[in-house]
C-alpha cells in the first residue's frame, strides 16, 4: 500500500461559487486538511496594460476603471495623479478635496462588496443583500457625479469630468447616513456572532514579518499590525489635511481584517464629512492650456479654448521623456501606476502595481496546514478582484 498517494488533488475553480470570479486554486488535500494550495491565474486576462500603451493619456483613463471595477474612482485617481506628476500640473484645491471625498466613497464601496461576499462565503447569505442594499446609495452618488454607476471615469487629468452637482453635499451626507445605519446591522449580525468568530479567528494568519516579506499592502498588511497607509505615509491629493486614524490588527487573522475594514469604513465616513465641511470654492479643472481640457462653457464662446479642446481630443499632448510612479491607497491596498513616457502623445509603457495580485501571493501561506473550508475564508479575507489580478 506504500505507493498509494495519501493526498487528493482537488481543482477549485475557475468556475466555483466562492473564488470571486475566475480564480483557480489547485489544492492538495489530506482529508480535510490543505497540504498545498496553488493559485492559477490568467483566466480573466484582458491585456489592459497593453491596451493603454496604444491610447492617448486621456483615453487610457477608462481602462483603469475596468481593472478593479469595484473601485473605479481610486483607480482613476491613481492614474491621473501619475500623469499629473509627469506633466507637473498643479491641481486646484477644490478638485483635491472632491477627489478625496470620492476616493473614500469608493473605499466604502469596495469594502461593502467585500463584506457581503466574504460573509456569503461563510454562509451568512443575508449579509450580501444588506451590503448591496446600502451600496446602492453609493452607486446613485456615482451616477449623480459621473453619469455612470460603475465605470465612472469621473476623475480626469487635471481635474474632474464635470463640476460636482449642486446637491453633492446633500447626497454624500445621505450616503453617510445610510451606511451608518447599515453598519449597525452588519455588526449585530457578525461582530459578536459566535459562529463567525469561530470561522475567522485564527484563520489565514500572517505574521507582520511574513506580510512585509510578501510585500502585501492594505488591510491585509495592517491586519498583521504593520502601520503602513499611504494616505499617512506618503500623502497625495492633500490627505495630510484630514484627520483620521489607521486601524491596526494584532493577530493577523481573518477576523482582524474584518474588524479593520469595518473601522476603515467608519474612518472613511469621517474623512468624507471633513471634506464636505471644508469644501473650498474654485474651478473643477486646472487651467493648463494644451494639456488639460478647457471647461465646456468656454469652448462655446472662446476661440482658443475650442482649438485646445480640438487638439487635445484628436492628438492629445506631448509629454516630457521620463518615468513616474505614483501609488495611492485604494480599498484593497497600494495601487501604483508606473508610466514610462517616451515624449510622444501615448505612454510607452504603463505598469500597474495591483494590490489584489500581490496580496493573492499570500494565499498558499494562509491556507497550508489549515482546513479546506478555511481556503474560502482566506480567499475572501484577501479581497481580490480578478479584473485587477489579471489585467
Amino acid at each position: 500500500m506504500s505507493n498509494v498517494s495519501k493526498t487528493v488533488t482537488l481543482n477549485m475553480g475557475p468556475q466555483h461559487p466562492s473564488t470571486h470570479g475566475v480564480l483557480r486554486v489547485v489544492l492538495e488535500l489530506d482529508g480535510e486538511t490543505v497540504v498545498k494550495a496553488e493559485p492559477v491565474l490568467g483566466y480573466l486576462h484582458t491585456g489592459i496594460e497593453k491596451t493603454m500603451e496604444d491610447k492617448l493619456y486621456y483615453k487610457a483613463i477608462p481602462c483603469t476603471d475596468r481593472m478593479d471595477y469595484l473601485a473605479p474612482m481610486s483607480n482613476n485617481l491613481g492614474f491621473c495623479l501619475a500623469v499629473e506628476k509627469l506633466m507637473e500640473i498643479d491641481i486646484p484645491e477644490k478638485v483635491q478635496w472632491v477627489r478625496v471625498c470620492l476616493a473614500e466613497l469608493t473605499r466604502i464601496n469596495s469594502h461593502l462588496v467585500w463584506l457581503g461576499t466574504h460573509a456569503l462565503d461563510l454562509g451568512a447569505m443575508s449579509m450580501l443583500l444588506y451590503a448591496f442594499r446600502d451600496r446602492e446609495s453609493i452607486m446613485d452618488m456615482y451616477e449623480a457625479v459621473g453619469g455612470q454607476r460603475m465605470m465612472t471615469t469621473y476623475i480626469r487629468i487635471g481635474g474632474l469630468a464635470q463640476d460636482i452637482p449642486k446637491d453633492f453635499d446633500k447626497g454624500i451626507r445621505k450616503v453617510i447616513k445610510t451606511i451608518k445605519a447599515g453598519l449597525v446591522d452588519y455588526e449585530t449580525l457578525l461582530t459578536n456572532n459566535e459562529i463567525f468568530i469561530n470561522r475567522t479567528k485564527g484563520v489565514g494568519v500572517l505574521s507582520a514579518e511574513e506580510a512585509i516579506n510578501l510585500s502585501l499592502s492594505g488591510p491585509l498588511l495592517r491586519g498583521s499590525g504593520v502601520n503602513q497607509d499611504l494616505r499617512k505615509a506618503n500623502p497625495y491629493s492633500s490627505y495630510e489635511k484630514f484627520d483620521f486614524e489607521v486601524p491596526l490588527g494584532k493577530n493577523g487573522d481573518a477576523y482582524d481584517r474584518y474588524l479593520i475594514r469595518i473601522e476603515e469604513i467608519k474612518q472613511s465616513m469621517r474623512i468624507m464629512e471633513q471634506a464636505l465641511d471644508g469644501m473650498p470654492e474654485g474651478p473643477y479643472r486646472a487651467h493648463v492650456p494644451g494639456i488639460v481640457l478647457p471647461p465646456k462653457e468656454d469652448i462655446l464662446y472662446k476661440m482658443e479654448s475650442m482649438i485646445f479642446h480640438f487638439k487635445i481630443i484628436t492628438e492629445g499632448f506631448k509629454t516630457p521623456v521620463g518615468a513616474v510612479y505614483q501609488a495611492i491607497e485604494s480599498g484593497k491596498g497600494e495601487i501604483g501606476f508606473f508610466i514610462s513616457a517616451d515624449g510622444t502623445n501615448k505612454p510607452h509603457r504603463v505598469r500597474v502595481r495591483p494590490p489584489s495580485f500581490i496580496n493573492l501571493a499570500a494565499l498558499p501561506k494562509m491556507c497550508e496546514g489549515n482546513m479546506f473550508a478555511d481556503v474560502v475564508c482566506a480567499i475572501g479575507s484577501i479581497d481580490i478582484v480578478l479584473g485587477e489580478v489579471d489585467r
Binding site: 487528493v8 482537488l10 466555483h16 461559487p17 466562492s18 480535510e32 460573509a119 456569503l120 462565503d121 461563510l122 454562509g123 451568512a124 447569505m125 443575508s126 443583500l129 444588506y130 442594499r133 449580525l189 457578525l190 456572532n193 459562529i195 463567525f196 469561530n198 470561522r199 482546513m371 479546506f372 473550508a373 478555511d374 481556503v375 474560502v376
Partner: protein, 340 residues
C-alpha cells in the same frame, strides 16, 4: 374489511399528496421569507404572489436535460435519490396529524399506522436517509461529491446520538413509545396540577427541546449545519453531479425531511394536534398540527437567513462536546427525578 382497506388507501394518498405539496410550498415559503428578511420580494411572477412558482419549478426540472458524468456508477447513481427520498416520506406513516373522529358513521383515525413503537420507527427511518447521500456521493465519481458525502455521513451519525438522546427525557416521563399516546398525555393539565396550561413536554423538558431543535437542524443538513452541501466550498456537495428530476428528488427529500422532523418535534414537544376548542370542532386539530409544523419550518428558515455556516471540525466538536454531554445530562437528571 374492504372498507378498512379503502379508508387506509385514501389516507395514504391524501397524506403523501399533502406532504409533497407541503414540500413544494415550503420551497416557496423559504424563498419568500428569506426574501423579505433580505429586503427583497422573493419570487412573485408566476401566479398571484408567486403562488405558482413551485409548479413552474417542478415543470422546469422535469423538462431539463439530464446530464450524466462519464465515470458514474449507473445503478447506484440512479437509486441514490430514491433512497434518500423514500425514508423522508415514510416518517409520516406514524405521525398523528389530527384528533380521531367519526366520518359517515365510521371511526376515523387521523394517523396512518398507530405503531406502538412509533418513536423508534421514526428514528430508524430518518437514519436511513443517509444511505442515499453516501451512495450519491460515492457513485457520482466527483471529489466534491465524495467530500460532501463523507462529511454528511460523519455529521448525521454524530448528531443522531444527540438527536436520539434529546427525547429520551420525554420518553422516561411518558413511559411510552407510541406517538399517539404521547399526544394524549400532553392533553392533560400541566404536571397534573396547573389547569390553564397543557402538559406539553416543552414545559417539562425545555433543555431537551432545545437540544432536539439543534440536532434536528443538523439531521436535515440545514443552515448553519449545511456542511454536506456547503456551496461556498463544495459547490453543491453530494448532489453536485445531479441534474434534472434526480436533483429535485434530493431537493424534495431535504424539504420532506424538514417537514418530518418538524412534525416529530411538534408531536413530541408541542402537543401534536392538541389545542383549544377541539371538543366542538375536532377538525381544528389538523389545523393546529399544521400551524405547529409551520412554526418549526419558519424557525429553520429564519436561522438560515441569519447565521454563517459552521466549519466541519467545529461542527463535530459542537456535536460531541456540547450537545452530547448536555443530552446525557438531561437524560440523567430526568431519570433521577422520575425515580424520586
Amino acid at each position: 374489511m374492504l372498507e378498512m382497506i379503502l379508508f387506509a388507501s385514501i389516507k395514504v394518498v391524501v397524506v403523501v399528496a399533502a406532504v409533497l405539496t407541503g414540500c413544494a410550498y415550503s420551497t416557496l415559503l423559504e424563498r419568500k421569507v428569506v426574501g423579505h428578511m433580505q429586503h427583497r420580494m422573493g419570487p412573485n411572477t408566476a401566479g398571484p404572489y408567486g403562488l405558482l412558482t413551485p409548479l413552474a419549478d417542478g415543470l422546469k426540472l422535469i423538462f431539463k436535460e439530464e446530464i450524466k458524468p462519464a465515470n458514474i456508477e449507473p445503478i447506484t447513481y440512479m437509486l441514490a435519490p430514491m433512497i434518500s427520498f423514500v425514508p423522508a416520506i415514510l416518517t409520516f406513516a406514524v405521525i398523528p396529524f389530527g384528533k380521531d373522529n367519526t366520518f359517515f358513521g365510521h371511526d376515523f383515525t387521523l394517523v396512518l399506522s398507530d405503531l406502538n413503537v412509533g418513536v423508534l420507527f421514526v428514528f430508524a427511518v430518518t437514519s436511513l436517509g443517509i444511505y442515499g447521500i453516501v451512495l450519491a456521493g460515492w457513485s457520482s465519481g466527483s471529489k466534491y461529491s465524495i467530500m460532501g458525502a463523507v462529511r454528511s455521513s460523519a455529521q448525521m451519525i454524530s448528531y443522531e446520538v444527540g438527536y436520539g438522546l434529546s427525547i429520551v427525557g420525554v420518553l422516561i416521563i411518558a413511559n411510552t413509545l407510541s406517538l399517539r399516546e404521547l399526544v394524549e398525555l400532553q392533553m392533560l393539565p400541566l404536571w397534573g396540577t396547573v389547569s390553564f396550561l397543557p402538559n406539553w413536554f416543552i414545559f417539562s423538558q425545555p433543555l431537551g427541546f432545545i437540544l432536539f431543535l439543534t440536532c434536528a437542524i443538523a439531521e436535515t443538513n440545514r443552515a448553519p449545519f449545511d456542511m454536506p452541501e456547503a456551496e461556498s466550498e463544495l459547490v453543491a456537495g453530494y448532489h453536485t453531479e445531479y441534474s434534472s428530476m434526480k436533483f429535485s428528488m434530493f431537493f424534495i427529500a431535504e424539504y420532506a425531511n424538514m417537514i418530518a422532523v418538524s412534525a416529530v418535534g411538534a408531536t413530541i414537544f408541542l402537543g401534536g394536534w392538541h389545542g383549544p376548542f377541539l371538543d366542538t370542532m375536532p377538525m381544528l386539530s389538523v389545523l393546529y398540527f399544521v400551524l405547529k409544523v409551520f412554526c418549526f419550518m419558519f424557525f429553520y428558515i429564519w436561522l438560515r437567513a441569519t447565521f454563517p455556516r459552521f466549519r466541519y471540525d467545529q461542527l463535530m466538536a459542537f456535536g460531541w462536546k456540547v450537545l452530547f454531554p448536555l443530552a446525557l445530562l438531561n437524560t440523567i437528571v430526568t431519570a433521577f427525578f422520575v425515580i424520586l
